[in-house]
């Protein structure tokens, strides 16, 4: 048993103290839900031209979904839509086990989620915030069939 592979210290830390927690008044709001488990995220995204200038979230969910949302907000702030889209694609590949091994360095701290690939039932937890971001900003990465409902 190697739970460390899933619950990396950085993930536990973001679960305890999520970054960019809250709402941005007047910004674009999107609610993401996982109907299977009832987890949800409320994401506020401020976009200036093509750049994501600010992003915050609130919600309720497991350590994986909360930490993923928290680390996503850190990694996309200041990025263009297409840069954020590329990050999601890399992240998606990482958590579904389709990415490079070792993981692409461009993913930065998001590489902590590599262990999710060994827990197929938890992929949806890791990607919930990213799917909400996709809706909020309109970039398009298709959910894969392995993520379930």
């Amino acid at each position: 048993m190697d739970l460390g592979a899933l619950y990396e210290e950085v993930i536990l830390d973001h679960n305890r103290s999520p970054r960019n927690w809250g709402e941005i008044p007047g910004a674009h709001h999107i609610d993401g839900r996982n109907p299977l488990c009832g987890d949800h995220i409320s994401l506020s995204v401020q976009v200036d031209g093509d750049v994501i200038t600010d992003v915050k979230f609130t919600g309720e969910g497991c350590a994986i979904s909360k930490a993923s949302a928290s680390m996503m907000t850190q990694s996309i702030k200041g990025k263009t839509r297409s840069e954020a889209e590329a990050l999601f694609e890399g992240f998606h590949n990482l958590v579904t086990g389709h990415g490079a091994n070792p993981p692409d360095k461009s993913l930065g701290s998001l590489r902590a989620f590599a262990g999710v690939a060994r827990f197929p039932t938890r992929v949806k937890c890791a990607t919930m915030a990213w799917h909400a971001l996709k809706e909020a900003t309109g970039f398009g990465v298709q959910a894969s069939g392995t993520e379930g409902v």
Binding site: M1, Y7, C37, D39, C62
Partner: protein, 420 residues
Amino acid sequence: MATLTERSGLAVSGAGLDVERIRADFPILGIHPRGRPLVYLDSAATSQKPRQVIEALTRYYEEENGNIHRGVHYLSELATIKYDETREAVRRFINAESVNEVVFTRNTTEGINLVASSYGQKFVKAGDEIVVSQMEHHSNIVPWQLMAERTGAVLRAVPVTDIGELDMNAFESMLGPKTRLVALTWVSNSLGTVNPVKRIVELAHARGIPVLLDGAQAAPHIPIDVQSIGCDFLAFSGHKMLGPTGVGVLYARGDWFIRLPPYQGGGDMIETVTIEKTTYAKAPSKFEAGTPAIGPVVAFRAAIEYLESVGLDAIHRHEMALLEEATARVSALRGIRLIGTAPGKAGVLSFTMDGVHPHDIATILDQSGIAIRAGHHCTQPLMARFGCGATARASFYLYNTMDEVSALVAGLERVREVFA
């Protein structure tokens, strides 16, 4: 014919169940998920199956398979007999007056949908009220909402108290001249609360209101006597009581199945068909359109007989001993909040742990081969009532042991370590 007890060697000692001998009947309990012995604490979701049921299913397909109620050949006749023998076994199991009060469905959900659709079509109009409760499974909420959308009826929900019981005063006050039906669960799948169904039926019947009971969590654990309870409808599922998936039961008292219009049309439910008009078969056939899950229905009889041979009273005592031990030891852990603490509840332990989401609890336990349920348990209104989006739930059945309770406790201690 040898009784099941003789054939399977089941034995009940004075002190309780001979759990080791029962466990030997359940092949799946020997598997090692994640390299660890399986600790299956999710029987409220679905029970495991004894080899008697698995063998009955295999035997059906190897020796008895034919379509029912339509052929004159040997296999059709045999399958028809076997299928209807299960109906008689169900009648006996719930002490229904007649086999014509027993209809096979796919599951509890389909039984409730049948009543919502057929009863709604004939007896419900705009402004009428259907009484459910805050503790219902979504399957006893959504079918009524769909029916309310079609008819203009209104859904009212009995509130739940802090310990997880129905507020019976509120229930009584909700019953009025507009109430057309009461649809309540017998045992809560999330809390384990056993509702006072006999009292519920008395109160409703005193006002001429029929009652449907969701028996999904009751039938596996509680001796049922529908004539004593007096309910009009009772729906339950085979797969939660040692039977195969794909089989459910809808009981309807007396002439209800005669008064209700058909639910689905098709073969087997007709008397004569012309392009202009069809006359329907009598119940139960009227509500069993198309080829049903014959094999699973046939095998379901072995599940009923298994439960009868062990005895639901003995099973209940065993579950209560496990629940008592688990409740004491789990609630002694740091940061645990039990959800549902009604006296006399069924073998369900629902809880949250400070700072740890139930999904993370379940994932960590799963790494030790321990299967519990985490989530909203298809009872989102109830979760909202208790201010939590989800709980972790361990549920016990006849094959669980005190060692498995210890494994659960050790697993929860490990969760604490990971999330220290």
